[in-house]
Symmetry: C5
């Protein structure tokens, strides 16, 4: 689990809460219809932009983005090198028994196809198509969060306009003007908060997570192809190590390269 998004979200919300409590009482900032129009409006606009099936997957994608544990690239490379050693020593069929302990379903699928003797080109096409599908799903997820981040302030402004018109067409009691204007501004505040504390940072995080996952899956694809063609485990290692930033490479490997 990447703690940064949660910290950012929670501390950001607490800061805003603190600023509100310092300036007045919380009650003036809570207004159910304002919440309804901002969240509801942004959700409806995003729903209208995407097919229903894709829209319903948004919570899953978001949850995975926040709670998925970051890929440990070095451990993944070590695991693949180990598999390459077993395949070289005992033949590729020896990997069949190890499949269950591998953890990563994408790696399991690739090794399974190699063990089954599937044609290498077909393995590569299938694995790359799946990688593209994952990236495309992430892209759609980011697109939905971006849309929410655009529509939330827009419906915040719409809510404020509705409130202003209500207040202005009914100004008999001047003492209520302030309160009416305050209520009208609340939706703009909600829209700005939702976009800047939640939707936009999460869209950026999803894009980063997506490029991390693309990296690890590219390593897996290259590893499976190398294992299947029976490459020397040392050669596999030095090839995969170039995907790591130098600082993360173990000292010994670099010299050996």
């Amino acid at each position: 689990m990447d703690i940064a998004t949660l910290i950012g979200l929670i501390v950001g919300s607490l800061l805003v809460l603190g600023a509100i409590l310092l300036g007045g009482d919380l009650g003036a900032y809570i207004n159910a219809p304002s919440v309804m129009i901002v969240i509801g409006g942004a959700t409806c606009a995003t729903l209208a932009s995407y097919p229903l099936a894709r829209f319903l997957k948004l919570p899953t994608i978001v949850k995975k983005t926040i709670f998925a544990k970051p890929v440990e690239t070095l451990a993944l490379i070590r695991q693949i090198v180990e598999l390459a050693e077993v395949a070289r020593r005992d033949g590729i069929l020896a990997l069949e028994g190890m499949v269950e302990d591998m953890g990563d379903t994408f790696l399991i699928g690739g090794i399974q196809m190699a063990v089954d003797g599937t044609d290498p080109e077909i393995i590569q096409v299938i694995m790359e198509t799946e990688l593209e599908n994952v990236l495309e799903r992430h892209e759609a997820g980011k697109g939905m969060l971006d849309a929410l981040g655009r529509y939330a302030p827009a419906f915040g402004m719409i809510g404020t306009l509705i409130g202003l018109v209500a207040m202005l067409s009914n100004m008999d009691d001047p003492s209520k003007i302030g309160a009416g204007m305050a209520a009208a501004l609340l939706t703009t505040l909600y829209g700005a908060l939702l976009a800047n504390i939640m939707f936009l940072p999460m869209a950026d995080k999803l894009a980063l997570r997506s490029s991390e996952e693309a990296l690890s899956r590219t390593i897996i694809i290259q590893g499976v192809m190398a294992i299947q063609s029976g490459d020397n485990p040392r050669a596999v290692e030095s090839k995969l190590m170039t995907f790591l930033p130098p600082g993360q490479r173990p000292a010994g490997e670099e010299e050996a390269a």
Copy 2:
């Protein structure tokens, strides 16, 4: 019919209506000249940006976008594989009798050309040109919806400025200032609503629908070319299945691949 766009549109409108009714009476929000200037202005600006013939096709494209039933890619692949089996078993001329039951006019056109013995290269050029034409028409449709989504808020602001100038140059009766300002703000509200509830989400939906249609037509082109060259129906199937996300592939096919 993809229900999401309709739900988003209707629920979004109801939410806004609810917010208005909670805050005051609906009458203050209805103003015919304001509707006229926002919708009329945005339509005129878009009309001036596009050739008349293309502009007049906008309603058709929009209707198709909302009501067209989503492509069922798996069923399409199964249908093509079936055609490939018939062509292999009974010769390509046997497909002639099946043309009427195919449903998709693009598929029918392709199969018809194959049955007529048209040169494969010419079939491919004609089908790809037609695909590009469809995408280009969708692109133009999205462009018009985007233009409406840009011009609606612009004419909303223009209407508000006209109203403000009218109110400010005639401030003899201070009690009417509120009502004048409320009326002036209505056009801005209309422009923001039209853009964010209708035009922009529909432009995004059209773009997604366009990429879905591109996918299904690419599958059809590849399928027709494979049928014409008499490929093995199993090979056709495993080739076309890579266009599907893994989760949607039937269990048996994947292993067989």
Copy 3:
């Protein structure tokens, strides 16, 4: 002449005029210095952005954009096929007598070079360079209209700021505040109107016109090259027909292809 741009421009202006007349009297909306600063300022900023020679061609380009009759692609293809038939039957020199009736100067230039026996590669380079030049001129024209569309609202805001400062630094008579503010807002209104009714739609129209002209000139280039190399008129026709959307192709041709 493409009627859409004129309709959009005129109806859009009438709508705004109607909205003004409904809300008050026209006099409050007419102010010579405001017109001067918005139109003058936007023009000066655009003039400063472009070389004088190019800036002076703007009216010609705009006029051509609105009044040029749209290219009839099918008629053009038929004309080229006819030329190809004559060239095949009577030799390419027979085209010399037909040059005057061709109408399109780009087509005339190409055929003339073919008749003169110019080297095919040189014909192609010259015609493509000329096509690029036309597109580049259109691009510059669109750039100037876009610049006008950006600078008009900017100088509208500048005019409003000048008016506000004048009003605010001279508030002895509170009854004049409204009129002063109304006058100040006029420039913002002018800037928004000019940009959204005229400059931005015309920039978009120019871009579309440009892509239409690119299509017809590409057809002419391919046609001239085919005529010069003495291709079969049927082959020329089926090749050029792929540039047309299927709906516009004549029924017979498609089958013959």
Copy 4:
């Protein structure tokens, strides 16, 4: 010297001055601290964005952009064709005596290398590297003007906020509110004027000048390479003429091509 930028700048400034004088007295619009914060702030932000050495070259680049005389492409081509004739007739060494009269230092450098017998590939690499360097310097110059055009309105807003806070926290004398607000708005006005009359148009002009210079230097590079390889002067001419728009080509040449 391209007169358009100067005309645009001066007439634009006069228009704004006229609008100010019509509306009130000039004194209300002059405020030294406002000038200081807008110009100073935008300059500091741009200075912080670029290395010192590059920032200091900005005035030179701007001066050259306004006062540099436009390239006369046709004259340049004629000059190169003349050099090609001399080189063909009297040998390439005969060009040595003509170097001083050539005017363009880029052309001189290229011819000098050709006369010195430098390897053609090295000449091309050196000339193209120099062309890229010039374009990169122009790009950086445009970047700085764009930055000034972005930061001037931003510091205009910052100045207005500072003025508003000063006015609002000191409202004992209501009669001074108007004057305070007028003074606060001045920085926004300055920022908008600087950006839209000076920085943004000059950035666009620099981009155009840069593409013009790229064209003339590309012609020179092609010309020097052709002279060195001893090409036929007629061939050199017809090759270089394709860089000219047809309208600018002399009548005779086109037919000869």
Copy 5:
């Protein structure tokens, strides 16, 4: 150390301070909760957008950007040519003793691999991967500064909305309205200042620094490859000199080229 960023930052801040002191007293502009919400909010939103590990590296990257001494390309080329001379004269192993005096760790790493007899292709892959990693880190650093530059004004607006709602819902004492509004505007001022004086200029500077470092590392890679293949030091020099703008090349070299 590149002095421009520091000068820009400090003088810019002093200008703003001066403008504040001219207009009123500094006290009205200092407000701890406002600082908290703008800086805290922008930091939290950026933190939520990036993995924790990357976020924590931001201060290091920023410090390096400001204080890193600019690369002296000419000195670097001279140093590489010297190494090429030693390698040519005394063999590549003679470079081993010079490694410690080289200064640049990237150059040291490359020479060390060449001395160790590593395969040239592997050296190139490793050095280019490392270059890409550095650029990618700079890109992420710029991304974070851009995010801060976007979120600071956004949280400035959020703070102002919170302040306005507090003031408007509590307008019993009209004499406090001015002070409340002044306090509310402070966060917008802080957000604009932070973005335009610090974050955005530093993001641009980091992008420039990154392209400078890419240039010097590209020179080192080419140099190491040339040294390893035993190229003539003169050839190495004339090849690397093309990376320098002509004005910076020493007079003698250019003629020798």
